[in-house]
Symmetry: C2
Subunit: 324 residues, 2 copies
């Protein structure tokens, strides 16, 4: 949980209700499944997507908790599903400092645990959300799947560009943030302009969030992150700081020795981390994140003044300035 | 495609429309995904579940093609999704004589291909089906996931009983057959009795179908099946004929030498096939399938006389008497 939830007691209570809703939706008599779900829930998570649904809902004339809480819970469950399946793809053994489902139970169980999460999310919203939003949600997960396959296919490619990177993170992350804001706003009957501004806010937030995530993977503190440094790089997934380093005339040759290889040692990855830092690529990446942050502020300025607006602003600052 | 479709030109045309609907729903610009989907579609399949939706729909007062075709397509896509993920679990390289998605593209791509199929199925029905049926469908997939995890967890267990087996195949197969009939009947506004009889028909058909599938895995022709003989047994999944052989006083000791082992040779599996046959366990399994078949006929007798009734009867006979 993030510090901001403590300062905004209203949203803190709502997030607790979302967590309870998630717990209920994921009940199962199947013991392994119950246990895997319990691991996932106790691992926590920042619950940023649910917060966006709920805070966006605060801008409408009809802030309907009965609809927004299951909707927020469903979006978080879908996100959890993609993480569980993602960890199979990336062969990740740790997430947030804890063993992943695939690490503890094996890839096989992880496949059906992810499916279980996905269908439970759909079940949850069939009861509360309009068909249109349901369709939009399913479509977003489709885009995420396509993005994941693209990412997997372009692993270890030396010619991966900044534009390709931005497209990838848009699909992987920003669309679900945008949708969280959009459906929250629409279910609470916000006017068209407010829906548009919130959706834009969510999209740009997602971009800034993912760029920050990616630069922390190479320049952050692995202890705080609860996963090894440069894990994306090891898997052949080249993020923005790496792309900038390759584009740097003085560092190109040095970093290219480590590109396209799946046999890197811990020492190699440390070396890559150093190159990325020394070349100023981390800072350059941070600057791009800040540009997306600025766009978020622009959208916020266009929104009516409400306590939710301050909360979104704090959420933004806290997410981008985080150290893990 | 099954022979029956050729004799019933009405249903044949409808199934062709379902196939077209599936093709449209699964379009993707992501090349790997498009290619994997194309493989799946050209591999064919019997389309039994769509046929059940459509034939059940024929008993209602409002045989609404606009609703039934996307519904039938969605159910088939969900079934395809579970097959793709199932092949990851079972490490299967062949299905219907063709390479599986995981064999051709790897487990990683197969995970997200399955997810893609699942969410496309949901997208398809949000546009046409009532929320209640949507919920029932999502719930059925949940039951299938739990069943798959159970099956995986009970692999190589020596004490697997007939009752456990029947529970497993009910969840793995019969619930989706039952649901296909039920939603087809309900969407076309059948009366309560007709819905109940069709649902029962579907359930018992599913049980007979899966028992037949399992006995063909050990006693069928691997050439016709397009996959190696005894593939379940190798994976530690003990089906009805095996359970009966273990229970046979004269064969118990012989078959137990092969139970609980994951290091069997082709010769070992041939030997198991012989024991299962000699002990009369294949025939005993077939007799249980026939008992479920008899229950299907009972349900059919209670249904009003319609051309769809004859088609269901033929579908039943053809499915149970198949050689692969």
């Amino acid at each position: 949980m993030m510090g901001i939830w403590k300062r905004h007691t209203g949203i803190y209570k709502e997030i607790a209700k979302v967590d309870e809703c998630i717990r209920l939706a994921l009940k199962s008599n199947q013991q392994v499944l119950a246990s895997a779900v319990n691991d996932l829930l106790s691992a926590g998570g920042k619950r940023i997507r649910p917060a966006m649904v709920l805070l966006s809902g605060g801008f409408g004339i009809n802030n309907n908790e009965e609809k927004l809480i299951p909707l927020a819970a469903a979006i978080e469950i879908m996100h959890m599903a993609t993480l569980v399946h993602d960890d199979i793809i990336d062969q990740s053994d740790l997430r947030r400092g804890r063993p992943t489902v695939r690490n503890r139970w094996g890839n096989q169980i992880a496949v059906f645990t992810g499916d279980f999460l996905l269908v439970r999310a759909f079940s949850l919203i069939t009861q509360s959300v309009s068909q249109d939003h349901m369709h939009a949600l399913a479509n977003t997960i489709k885009v995420i799947c396509e993005g994941e396959i693209d990412q997997f296919q372009s692993r270890f490619k030396k010619t991966f560009s900044e534009l390709q990177y931005l497209k990838r993170i848009a699909r992987k992350t920003a669309v679900l943030f945008a949708l969280s804001c959009q459906v929250g706003a629409m279910e609470s009957q916000c006017d068209v302009d407010t829906v548009r501004n919130l959706k834009k806010f969510g999209y740009n937030f997602g971009m800034a969030f993912q760029i920050t995530d990616d630069l922390l993977d190479l320049g952050g503190d692995p202890e705080l992150a609860g996963k090894p440094l440069g894990s994306d790089f090891r898997e052949g997934i080249y993020t923005l700081p790496v792309i900038y380093t390759i584009a740097h005339p003085l560092y190109k040759a040095q970093i290219e020795k480590f590109i396209g290889r799946d046999d890197l040692t811990d020492y190699d990855v440390l070396k890559v981390g150093r190159l990325v830092k020394e070349s100023g690529s981390l800072e350059k990446s941070r600057n791009l994140a800040l540009r997306y942050l600025e766009r978020c502020h622009e959208s916020l300025r266009r929104l009516p003044d409400k306590p939710e607006k301050d909360a979104l602003r704090e959420l933004l600052e806290e997410t981008i300035s985080r150290k893990y």
